[in-house]
């Protein structure tokens, strides 16, 4: 049914080429840095590496993975992601179940819904948030990174929309069998909402892995930094003292190939979950953000 005039064919060819270039443009910086990380130090310093490693070597990765500062930050990053995702998912599932009930079954539902939406529109700002984290004693603990953001309103709305697609008959059958809300949630809703749970889990994991600013302001000791914050403190800013790194290590870390390898290891988990993520987020975006 496509229009088959010669001019449309010409357009189609140009279109394929343009989109192809655009697609490559989106990955070319990442590919370049990956190629640098696998190149010899001399080739990287001479600026001759493009998109393929020159003088292939794994030295940079060996150095990075032998660096105790990097490994500590890596393990804190993993810990924060696992802990943060677990806590958030628990909090979000419970709340989303209640909010997915229609108004007639749960008077007060819309009051709660507004309660969660208002902070999306207005926030007290960076400094009062810092002060309350300090007042509640979370400063300099991993909890400062996982508790304050655990009830994301955006993911809450996403999850409640997933729950709304659960057929009402399933729930009614459970109620007739005498099941309460807790049983209904765990025995009926959760087993049929695995796609939704996977979606919000992936979003939480990516958010936690990428999150760096909270580590920077809530943790005073660089030894407690998760990987994202650690990378932030050594990349670009070149503020080595802040990252708690000894002078003799600086030469190794500041080498361009080593830096590239650290960037790539930092991006690797995201690149690894991305194919799974892609399966779900298109549906999630359309479900959660824009409803006509």
């Amino acid at each position: 049914m496509r229009y088959r005039s010669p001019s449309y064919k010409l357009f189609a060819i140009c279109n394929y080429i343009a989109l192809g270039i655009l697609g490559l443009l989106c990955i070319f910086p990442v590919v370049h840095v990956f190629a640098v990380s696998l190149s010899s130090r001399a080739a990287a310093t001479a600026n001759i590496v493009n998109f393929w490693p020159i003088g292939f070597t794994l030295d940079a990765y060996e150095q990075t993975l032998a660096n105790s500062h990097f490994l500590r930050a890596l393990s804190i990053g993993v810990m924060r992601t696992v802990l943060g995702t677990g806590i958030s998912i628990a909090v979000l599932l419970l709340a989303a179940y209640s909010l997915s009930k229609p108004d007639r079954k749960f008077g007060g539902r819309s009051a709660y819904a507004w309660y969660f939406v208002v902070p999306m529109l207005f926030s007290g700002g960076m400094i009062p948030s810092y002060l309350i984290v300090k007042e509640t004693g979370l400063l300099n603990t991993i909890w400062a990174l996982v508790i304050p953001g655990a009830a994301s309103a955006y993911l809450l709305i996403l999850m409640l929309n997933f729950f709304r697609t659960v057929p009402i008959e399933l729930e009614e059958a459970a109620l007739i069998d005498g099941a309460g809300h807790f049983t209904t949630l765990f025995r009926v809703y959760l087993p049929v909402s695995m796609a939704g749970i996977a979606t919000i889990s992936l979003f939480e994991m990516v958010a936690h892995w990428n999150s760096w600013f909270d580590g920077m302001i809530y943790l005073t000791n660089p030894k407690d930094y998760p990987l994202a914050t650690f990378l932030q403190s050594i990349i670009g800013k070149e503020n080595f003292q802040e990252a708690g790194i000894q002078a003799e290590d600086i030469a190794n870390i500041s080498s361009r190939t080593v830096k590239a390898s650290q960037i790539f290891i930092g991006a690797l988990p995201i690149l690894a979950v991305y194919p799974f993520l892609q399966k779900y987020f298109v549906k999630g975006i359309v479900l959660g953000s824009v409803k006509g």
């Binding site: 697609g23 709340a95 700002g125 990349i235 993520l277 824009v290």
Partner: protein
């Protein structure tokens, strides 16, 4: 008596639902609502060792200072300029991309392109900051080397006041255009194919079909997205700028959020920093509410 029993039966019916909401309720209360109250320190001379309650009120002193502070005008101006171009291009580029991708007939090609262009959205600005600092370097950065092939002088993308804003806007569009196109692509997929067939029978070519069928079909969603973008005109993107800027480009690149961080948290001027942040939040809030009201009236749009 009857009122009480009604309330009792409501409680009896719904208490598990309230209980399930409790954790999310408390976290939001403590870490979202209390900081909103904490923002009163913008009107006080807050001293950490005195405490929020006991610090003296000083009214609008910090806001007056904000408007007399030499850097404020520059910072507000930078924020608006950067955010304005980000929001405009952040709608136009995805729409254009979605329209072009919609013309692709081969599903495998379409899927591949989508996989490539959505990817940068998920990488953080820490990672991308590191990547761009390398790629855009003056001395031997790959972009400058490629431009050099065409005989261009090396450009100091991240260190020159002529280039910094453009670099920030373009790298942000680069990161987000694919992901932002998702809603437009799903709107395009929902267009009834019969419309195109009918138009073709009437002799309309693909260009005319685009003008008269495709664009009107996605216009409502474009209006929604563009209006919501207007509400973000105070958000120039803290994560990105913080990871790309340096003292050389404060003149064109310092935005309200980075300013609040440097003055307020690093400089310890908690009250002044909060006042600046509050100024931004308040304007942003008014803008967003206005946008939602417009959309509610025009497009019957609801948040949930």
């Amino acid at each position: 008596m009857r009122e009480t029993s009604k309330f009792a039966s409501y409680c009896k019916r719904t208490w598990p639902l309230h209980l399930l909401l409790l954790p999310a309720f408390l976290i939001t209360l403590i870490y979202q609502y209390i900081p909103m109250l904490g923002a009163v320190i913008a009107f006080k001379d807050y001293k950490p060792w005195v405490g929020i309650l006991d610090s003296p009120w000083i009214g609008l002193e910090h806001f007056k200072y904000l408007f007399t502070f030499p850097d404020s005008k520059q910072v507000i101006q930078n924020t608006l300029i950067i955010a304005f171009f980000k929001q405009i291009l952040g709608v136009l580029v995805p729409v254009l991309f979605a329209l072009l991708l919609n013309e692709v007939a081969k599903t495998a090609f379409k899927k591949t392109i989508q996989t490539l262009v959505y990817m940068p959205h998920f990488l953080s600005w820490v990672i991308l900051g590191g990547i761009f600092v390398d790629v855009l370097a003056v001395q031997g950065g790959i972009v400058n080397r490629l431009l050099g092939l065409f005989g261009a002088e090396p450009i100091f993308f991240l260190g020159s006041n002529d280039w910094f804003r453009a670099t920030v806007v373009l790298t942000d569009v680069w990161k987000e255009f694919g992901f932002a196109a998702i809603v437009f692509l799903s709107a395009l997929a929902a267009v009834n194919p019969n419309l195109y067939e009918a138009a073709e029978m009437d002799g309309a070519n693909r260009w005319r079909q685009t003008i008269y069928i495709t664009i009107p079909a996605i216009m409502p969603i474009v209006v929604v997205v563009a209006t919501l973008a207007l509400g973000r005109i105070m958000n120039a993107g803290f994560d990105q700028i913080f990871n790309l800027y340096n003292p050389l480009v404060y003149e064109t690149g310092d935005i309200i959020d980075t300013f609040v961080y440097r003055i307020g948290l690093e400089g310890g001027q908690f009250s002044f920093g909060t006042a600046v942040g509050l100024f931004k939040s308040a304007i942003g809030f008014v803008l967003i509410i206005t946008c939602y009201r417009i959309l509610y009236k025009v497009a019957d749009y609801r948040i949930f």
